[in-house]
């Protein structure tokens, strides 16, 4: 396989470098520019300025059919008048693959997606999940440098979607091809990606591995978009090291390094709901809040408590069954360790 790394600079000041073999997810709400970026990589949209490079080669002015890039569309976009086999063979025919190897290659790729038995069927005879696999096979069959996937699981129901996530990861591991995946579903992004690029209003907010994006979001937008969150506003106390003065709450202890870096600055403070613990009076945790419980959502394996600490809305996620003390209208003590929060400088 060719060695390359993709490099994308787009009209809205987007700069992305994609490693070979990487699974990168472009994540963001609709209209945030992620699909536009994908379509520029595919060649269906031309950037008005900036370049798109693949392995050091400038692709910017190349037509889609002159790029070696596969695309899987959300609505599958299978050719309705062709059988599964003909659909998958189509890129080989168009790209003048040696005729003698075409059938073999099609069989190989249909085996990979588990659709060998359906080779002679037409797309309309297949289920949504099977059609998606055909689209995947068609995108992969010609050994593209990159496979682009535009919300490919969006039309599937929840169970099938989870199944296909696992399947897609397996295929990615087996084929080792670079994949760029567009979705607005943060769970999908978290579970599948090597890195996530978070989009908002046509700009790139953060590009990082899933856990980094989750625990150390670079902006309040990212922290709120990915996962459940509690956000406070406050100011890093320059007089008392390792302390932050939270608006409406008072001083808290926080990570010392972060405080030193942001000394005196106004900050957004993120505390994930699962970092909060219910505590008795005796326990010693630095940061505590009295929370009046409003709503309790019981998931069976965990409980989500939504309540208020003064004017601040607080979400708490505790594992296991609902404790006796947790009742609607009751007040509980909630605490977290210094360092379980994340500070984001507010501009």
């Amino acid at each position: 396989m060719k060695s390359y790394d993709g490099r994308v600079n787009a009209v809205d000041g987007i700069s992305l470098e994609i490693d070979k073999g990487e699974f990168l997810t472009l994540l963001g709400p609709s209209g945030s520019g992620k699909t536009t970026t994908l379509m520029m990589i595919a060649g269906f949209e031309e950037p008005s300025s900036g370049v798109i490079e693949l392995g050091g080669e400038d692709l910017t002015r190349r037509k889609p059919y002159e790029r070696n890039i596969g695309v899987v569309f959300q609505n599958y976009a299978l050719f309705p008048h062709m059988t599964v086999e003909r659909n998958v063979a189509f890129p080989l025919r168009m790209r003048a693959f040696p005729r003698s190897q075409q059938a073999e290659r099609v069989r190989e790729i249909l085996d990979l997606v588990g659709l060998r038995r359906f080779a002679d069927k037409h797309p309309r005879e297949l289920s949504g999940g099977q059609q998606q696999r055909v689209a995947l096979a068609r995108g992969l069959v010609f050994n593209p440098d990159v496979l682009l996937l535009d919300e490919p699981l969006g039309a599937l129901d929840k169970n099938l979607r989870e199944q296909m996530q696992v399947e897609l990861k397996r295929i990615h591991r087996e084929v080792g091809i670079t994949m760029v995946y567009v979705t607005h579903d943060q769970t999908e992004a978290m579970t599948m990606s090597d890195r996530i690029a978070v989009f908002s209003h046509g700009t790139l907010e953060q590009t990082a591995p899933p856990l980094e994006v989750y625990h150390r979001p670079r902006s309040r937008f990212v922290g709120e978009f990915i996962g459940d969150s509690n956000f406070f506003t406050g100011r890093v106390d320059s007089g008392a090291p390792g302390h932050v003065e939270l608006d409406g709450v008072g001083p808290i202890e926080a990570d010392a390094d972060a405080c030193r870096r942001l000394a005196g600055a106004p900050v957004d403070v993120l505390v994930r709901p699962e970092r909060l613990q219910l505590v008795g009076d005796s326990e010693l945790l630095a940061n505590r809040l009295a929370v009046k419980i409003g709503v309790i959502v019981n998931y069976g394996d965990s409980v989500l408590i939504i309540g208020d600490a003064g004017r601040q809305r607080i979400r708490i996620r505790i594992a296991g069954a609902q404790p006796d003390a947790v009742r609607e209208g009751a007040t509980v003590m909630v605490a977290w360790k210094a360092g379980d929060e994340h500070l984001i400088a507010r501009s």
């Binding site: 609505n75 976009a77 168009m94």
Partner: protein
């Protein structure tokens, strides 16, 4: 239950007069009579052997084929432009395309007569083709633009990312996927020309006699029972045409 009975009665009311021509075409009567006094195939033999009837039939076929081609040449690019692009005056364009459907045929016929007369096309097959081609524009446009609206343009993107340039994308994907809808549009254009009488009477003159015109003249002058034969054949042809178009449409909706 009542709605079903009403629907059946309604259908019978509309169909019965048309279906009456079928037994009449096998009748032995020398003029129109129902019920027929006896049955034979004499009038069928007369139709298939008489130059007087075969020539208008052939004319009608030739004109309908020409008109259909003309219509498709106008409508296919128009439908692509109309469905895929936004432009000023789009509503007005739609209205103009639909005009032949709204304007009474007699008025159209009169207008074409003046226009084609100057071009020295009255009384020629080509003149009738052009006029019929214009008349069939609305129905073909409706069918083909509906097909195009239902067509997923991602198919073309998928073809291009598979390595097909614009031409091969059109040949291998766009055209085959749209073919059933195009065929239905063409079939409707053909039938619309084949069945048209008013414009034929105005434009056709002595030289370009179509089947409906011949029928009209025949019924006015001689009440020849061959008309029942022709009518039966025409009804059969139209039913066949509609069945074909239903089949094609089913295929295209399955495909979409």
């Amino acid at each position: 239950m009542l709605p079903v009975i009403l629907a059946v009665l309604g259908a019978l009311f509309l169909l019965a007069p048309i279906l009456v021509v079928v037994p009449m075409s096998f009748s032995t009567a020398i003029s129109f009579a129902f019920p027929p006094p006896g049955y034979w195939l004499g009038y069928y033999a007369k139709y298939f052997t008489s130059e007087e009837w075969l020539e208008p039939t052939l004319n009608s076929f030739v004109i309908a084929l020409g008109a259909m081609t003309f219509t498709m040449l106008l409508v296919v690019p128009a439908a692509f432009g109309y469905v895929r692009y936004r432009f000023r005056g789009k509503t007005l364009v739609n209205l103009l395309i639909m005009a032949p459907l709204i304007v009474p045929h007699v008025v159209s016929a009169l207008a074409y007569y003046g226009f084609l007369g100057r071009a020295k096309l009255t009384g020629t097959l080509l003149g009738v083709m052009v006029a019929h081609g214009m008349l069939a524009v609305p129905v073909a446009f409706l069918v083909i633009s509906a097909t195009l609206k239902g067509y997923d343009q991602n198919l073309e993107k998928a073809a291009m990312s598979s390595g097909a340039g614009p031409f091969r994308t059109f040949v291998h994907v766009t055209l085959p996927v749209l073919r059933p809808g195009m065929l239905v549009g063409a079939l409707f254009a053909f039938l619309s020309s084949f069945n048209e009488a008013v414009v034929s009477i105005f434009i056709g003159g002595r030289a370009a006699v179509t089947l409906p015109k011949k029928m009209y003249e025949s019924i006015r002058l001689e009440s020849d029972p061959v008309i029942a034969v022709v009518s039966t054949l025409l009804v059969g042809a139209v039913v066949l045409g509609v069945l074909i178009s239903m089949f094609l449409r089913r295929r295209s909706t399955h495909a979409a």
